[in-house]
């Protein structure tokens, strides 16, 4: 069987297209590279969607955390504490069990004339359930980063905004928020990288892989179990993730350059990779 044929059969196996059964014997390097790469689609799906959605929630939570009102600040603090203080692994289990306990048939919400039935079945599937957990988790971690950045916006910037007669929303939109993003961006880049790393936990926690459609590590683990040889599949995952990390660093570096474009070139902060977050 030629490698091209294997790629045709297995490149989208993780999404349910192509060959139904996973290879059972005669594993070639091509099989492993193709299937693990196919699983990487899930890692990118989880990482990208959680990151984008989490960005908005993180901004809101960071603002609530910085708010003077106790009713906004306390819930934000607790949200951040719970999601940053506990392991992501436990969060996956906890949410999965909670989703399983929801009534399988769905809720009936009576709305006067019509009754709306809310399906809950899909929440126990990894594509939705795990995404929700990752979304909340990254929102909490990013909110802490954004909050820290918001606290370190230079006083001079705020004074300047006041001098220009900016206040309220205009001041936030034009001065506070861009500066906050600019200051937070290097740390946020690290957060994004480790979020993608954290996506490998999904199929090792409560969430089952439906019809063996798993992520990169799921397939690597499959091959390692079948061949008793960890020295091929795991390095393949490693190479894929190094490439993904480089790509992310490059993309975030472009945004960083744009956020700092008004600064003289010798003052622009670079992005340094720092290993910080295992959840």
């Amino acid at each position: 069987m030629s490698c091209l044929q294997i790629i045709g059969d297995y490149a989208f196996r993780s999404l349910g297209y192509g060959e139904r059964l996973l290879p059972r014997s005669d594993f070639t390097l091509c099989h492993q590279v193709t299937l693990i790469g196919s699983g990487l689609i899930w890692n990118i799906y989880f990482g990208a969607l959680a990151l984008i959605a989490g960005f908005f929630l993180a901004n809101a939570v960071a603002l609530a955390r910085a708010s003077r009102s106790l009713w906004l600040r306390k819930p934000a603090e607790w949200f951040i504490f719970v999601f940053r203080g506990s392991p992501l692994f436990i969060q996956f289990f906890l949410f999965y069990e909670a989703f399983v306990l929801l009534p399988r048939a769905g809720f009936d919400i009576p709305l006067g004339l019509v009754t709306l039935t809310v399906e809950t079945d899909w929440l126990t599937r990894a594509w939705a359930g795990a995404l929700i957990v990752l979304f909340l988790n990254t929102a909490a971690y990013s909110a802490e980063i954004f909050f820290g950045a918001l606290q370190s916006v230079p006083r001079g910037d705020i004074d300047a905004a006041d001098a220009f007669g900016l206040s309220g929303w205009a001041r936030f939109r034009r001065v506070l928020w861009p500066t906050m993003l600019r200051l937070a961006w290097p740390a946020y880049t690290n957060e994004a990288i480790f979020l993608f790393h954290a996506t490998t936990l999904v199929f090792f926690s409560g969430f089952p892989a439906f019809q063996q459609r798993g992520d990169a590590l799921y397939y690597a683990n499959y091959f390692a179990d079948k061949t008793f040889n960890p020295f091929i599949p795991y390095p393949i995952v490693a190479v894929y993730f190094i490439l993904l990390t480089l790509l992310l660093t490059w993309a975030f570096g472009r945004v960083n350059a744009r956020l700092n474009r008004h600064l003289p070139s010798n003052l622009r902060p670079g992005i340094r990779l720092r290993p910080q977050l295992i959840r």
Binding site: S25, F81, V82, R84, G85, S86, P87, L88, F89, I90, Q91, F93, L94, E97, A98, V100, L101, F196, H197, A198, T200, L201, F204, L217, A220, N221, A224, K226, T227, F228, N229, P230, F231, Y234, V237, A238, F241, I242, T245, L246, L273, R274, P275, Q276, L277, I278, R279
Partner: protein
């Protein structure tokens, strides 16, 4: 366990709950919390030692050693740590058995890797085939500890390398000008001073280590996650204590356990930082000197 619990079906309410929570399996569950604490207690110093070695190697004047040290510190950056966890447990196991195989069975002619199997001679099995169950468990736990130490050693090497670089160069040069050897400069000037710079990174690492302990479950150790799943699953009336699916509550318990652990660590590490910054020539040290 208690005599009042001999007939669970006749109990109800709090008595039932009290008996339920003291069954033998629950006692095992409580002991597994100790497993987590032991893991933390053993891994933290081991990882620190690995990290110290890595940081020293990364600063070495010998090029190959330096590359090894830097490579070790860099390996955790681009690759998810769980890959290392899954990889090292098998790789270490096979590596140890392979080495024993070479020593104990020099005349063994069959290849070790036969197709899809990894086969060493029976004398090289670890632990040996007829060993008691406890040895299998201890060996599994030992492998997990070494794996944790390797991975977290790489994180610690990063932190310690940065801290060693942060000690002002002028101080090291002063030591040299007093006629100290490199070894003396390292022991008397560099190491005592670097801890303050390393502390923020190390306390972060400690939090990460706490939050990584449930991964023991993936390494096949019977830890708290294993027991929470085992005990929480719904029990039919064939069991002494039938109950519906309670895994949610067990995991809620674990969540609270971890939140307490991180909260207590946060407070203690905050105090330690206060203590170590006293008298330091840093902003935080100045702030303590002149209470406004």
């Amino acid at each position: 366990m208690f005599s009042a619990c001999s007939d669970p079906s006749s109990l109800d309410g709090l008595a039932w709950l009290g008996c339920y929570l003291t069954t033998g399996k629950h006692i095992d569950f409580y002991w597994s919390f100790l497993t987590v604490l032991i893991l933390l207690a053993v891994t933290a110093p081991a990882a620190l030692a690995f990290g110290f070695g890595g940081a020293m190697a990364a600063r070495s004047p010998v090029l190959p050693l330096r590359l090894v040290g830097k490579g070790y510190a860099a390996m955790v950056r681009g690759i998810p740590d769980i890959v290392f966890f899954l990889f090292f447990v098998i790789a270490l196991d096979q590596g140890l058995e392979w080495m024993l195989h070479q020593v104990r069975c020099p005349d063994w002619t069959d290849p070790v890797r036969q197709g899809l199997e990894f086969r060493v001679c029976p004398e090289a099995k670890i632990p040996s085939g007829n060993a008691a169950q406890i040895w299998h468990r201890l060996y599994g736990f030992g492998l997990a500890v070494v794996t944790f130490a390797i991975v977290f050693g790489a994180f610690a090497a990063n932190v310690l390398y940065g801290a060693m670089q942060a000690v002002p160069k002028a101080q090291l040069e002063t030591g040299e000008s007093f006629g100290m050897t490199q070894r003396q400069v390292f022991h008397r000037i560099l190491v005592p001073q670097m801890w303050v710079y390393a502390l923020p990174g190390l306390s972060n690492l400690w939090m990460i280590l706490i939050k990584a302990t449930p991964l023991l479950f993936l390494l096949g150790v019977q830890d708290i996650v294993y027991w929470a799943r085992e005990l929480g699953g719904s029990k039919t009336s064939a069991f002494d204590y039938p109950h519906p699916d309670w895994r949610l509550y067990y995991f809620l318990g674990l969540l609270v356990f971890y939140l307490c652990m991180t909260r207590v660590s946060e407070v203690l590490l905050g105090r330690l930082t206060q203590r170590l910054t006293r008298g330091q020539a840093t902003l935080a040290g100045d702030a303590q000197r002149k209470p406004a």
